[in-house]
């Protein structure tokens, strides 16, 4: 026994739908007026915009102040004592997705690590900021300065002297060797915010 809907003649359904559509749609005169009104409002809007002041900021004459954390050219910062922050740990070079950072680590006579040479290839850099995130000493940072176009691609290779700046970038107060590391004469437990080492022999249950 077929169900009721299935034997219901299809043309009757169509007829009903058509009558419903006719009842719902506005009369043709009304739709003409509505269409014309819609068109005219469009034309009025464009003509009004013709006399509005353009919102364009022409670039070389007008330079918008970019947010501090805009990611563009890379710099190497110094700590408050004026020393290079970079300890040549290779983390930035390891995390770089386009392999644009290369360096050679070296050790000073006082035991502090630094980069013998440090090179960023801005022809490859995609300004992702991963190096900045990976850096444990806040040495490598990205700046909002983005106008670095060069006529020759080789001039986009920045050496350490091109990258080094005389300030601390986003955090001037931070000094990595005050927080960690024993090579610079601060003993275990004497660093900022560090607990004394636990004597494991006294830690009896």
């Amino acid at each position: 026994m077929p169900r009721n809907e299935q034997i219901y003649p299809i043309f009757l359904i169509r007829l009903q739908l058509e009558t419903i559509n006719k009842m719902q749609s506005p009369s043709s005169y009304q739709s003409i007026f509505e269409g014309a009104y819609g068109l005219l409002t469009g034309f009025a809007t464009t003509i009004r915009h013709l006399f509005r002041k353009p919102i364009t900021e022409p670039y070389p004459e007008f330079k918008r102040r970019l947010p501090e954390r805009t990611r563009a050219t890379i710099i190497l910062t110094r700590d408050p004592d004026g020393e290079e922050r970079c300890v040549a740990c290779y983390l930035c070079s390891g995390v770089c997705p386009v392999n644009c950072i290369s360096m050679q680590s070296a050790e000073r006579s006082d035991g502090r690590r630094h980069a013998a040479w440090f090179r960023v290839n801005f022809a490859r850099c995609i300004f992702c900021g991963f190096c900045e995130e990976a850096c444990p000493t806040l040495a490598i940072q990205l700046t909002p300065h983005f106008e670095t176009c060069q006529p020759d691609i080789l001039r986009l290779l920045y050496e350490k002297e091109d990258l080094l700046v005389n300030h601390g970038g986003k955090n001037n107060a931070y000094n990595f060797y005050r927080h960690a590391g024993v090579a610079m004469g601060i003993d275990k437990g004497d660093h900022l915010g560090e607990d004394r080492p636990v004597d494991v022999r006294s830690l009896m249950p």
Binding site: T45, L50, I55
Partner: protein, 333 residues
């Protein structure tokens, strides 16, 4: 006799040169005007780098077009591919030959009519040439051997042929009222009042069909960027692309001139010389077309055909019948 002939020939060459130069310059600066106006309608500034207010932009564009590589696809039909843009540009420019741009001048006792040639079938020549323009588009798209070009060309041909009909039919009442196919006579018939006041419906049909004829937004289905890249001139580059582009804008100027001639009284107007009036009228029509481009979105293919065949063509036919009836009543009484 011979000197007169030579004088006439030199005069013709001078007129041709002046007209051609004016037409090309007009088309070039129309591109700039369109870009500027569109930009302002979208509250942008538009081109402003080449020269003061970007006034040298057309020249910069020309240099760019001329120095770019002229690519021909490997599978293309080379001969047709090379000459199709010329057809598109030449037909557009030829139409202007029958447009009168002023009353006659008197120079050394000779009467010089300000029209290149006063054909007695000028209107038919106009329609014929604008139909020939379809060949440039169709052959260019066909010869490119590219799917986009071919689809664009097919669409253009369908659209241009459809709107050719309403374009021609909308001009029949004008011919009936002026009693002549000559554009000079049609302008002369409008000394008292321009035909737009008695034939507003014809004017609207002509304006819409003209926009469809030159494939401008909202009728730019053949060049729909988002589906066909650039339609029939997808594969063109360099100066050949420039010729298509030029043809399009020259047609815009010419159609503006024709609208002025058929409906706005041609070069007739108070106070100013005829040429200035014609330029003002062309500029007004061009502004309207740019305004439409800044406002309306693109039609769908079937809507386009519906508008042409089911609305404009019947309306134009009805308009012809009514005009004929009114003219008959006026002549009988």
């Amino acid at each position: 006799m011979l000197t007169q002939w030579i004088m006439g020939f030199i005069l013709l060459i001078v007129k041709l040169g002046v007209c051609l130069l004016a037409l090309l310059l007009g088309a070039a600066y129309l591109v700039l005007a369109e870009r500027k106006l569109l930009a302002r309608m979208q509250i942008r500034i538009g081109p402003n780098r080449a020269g003061p207010f970007g006034l040298l932009q057309p020249i910069a564009d020309l240099i760019k077009m001329m120095t770019k590589e002229d690519l021909i696809p490997r599978e293309a039909d080379r001969v047709i591919f090379r000459y199709a843009p010329a057809v598109a540009a030449a037909t557009a420019m030829l139409i202007f030959a029958v447009v009168p741009f002023g009353d006659h001048l008197v120079l050394w006792g000779n009467r010089i009519p300000l029209v290149i040639t006063d054909l007695n079938v000028g209107l038919l020549a106009v329609l014929g040439l604008s139909s020939l323009g379809v060949y440039g588009v169709a052959l260019g798209g066909w010869a490119s051997h590219s799917k986009y070009s071919l689809l664009g060309a097919i669409r253009s041909v369908a659209q241009m042929i459809s709107y050719e009909l309403s374009l021609g039919l909308s001009l029949v009442p004008i011919v009936m009222m002026a009693g002549s196919f000559s554009l000079v006579d049609i302008v002369a018939a409008q000394t008292k009042y321009p035909f737009i006041f008695v034939q507003p419906i014809s004017f609207i049909i002509f304006f819409i069909s003209a926009m469809a004829e030159i494939k401008r937004i909202p009728f730019d289905m053949p060049e729909a960027e988002n589906e066909l890249i650039a339609g029939y001139h997808t594969e063109y580059s360099g100066l050949r692309f420039g010729l298509f582009f030029l043809g399009e804008y020259v047609t815009l100027v010419t159609l503006g001139a024709l609208t002025a001639v058929f409906f706005l009284g041609g070069w007739h107007g108070p106070f100013l010389p005829g040429v200035i009036w014609l330029i003002i009228k062309i500029a007004a029509i061009a502004f309207c077309m740019i305004w439409v481009r800044g406002t309306l979105p693109r039609f769908r293919s079937d809507q386009l055909m519906d508008l042409g065949w089911k609305f404009l063509t019947p309306l134009a036919l009805i308009n012809i019948v009514i005009t004929g009836a009114v003219l008959l009543i006026l002549t009988v009484t």
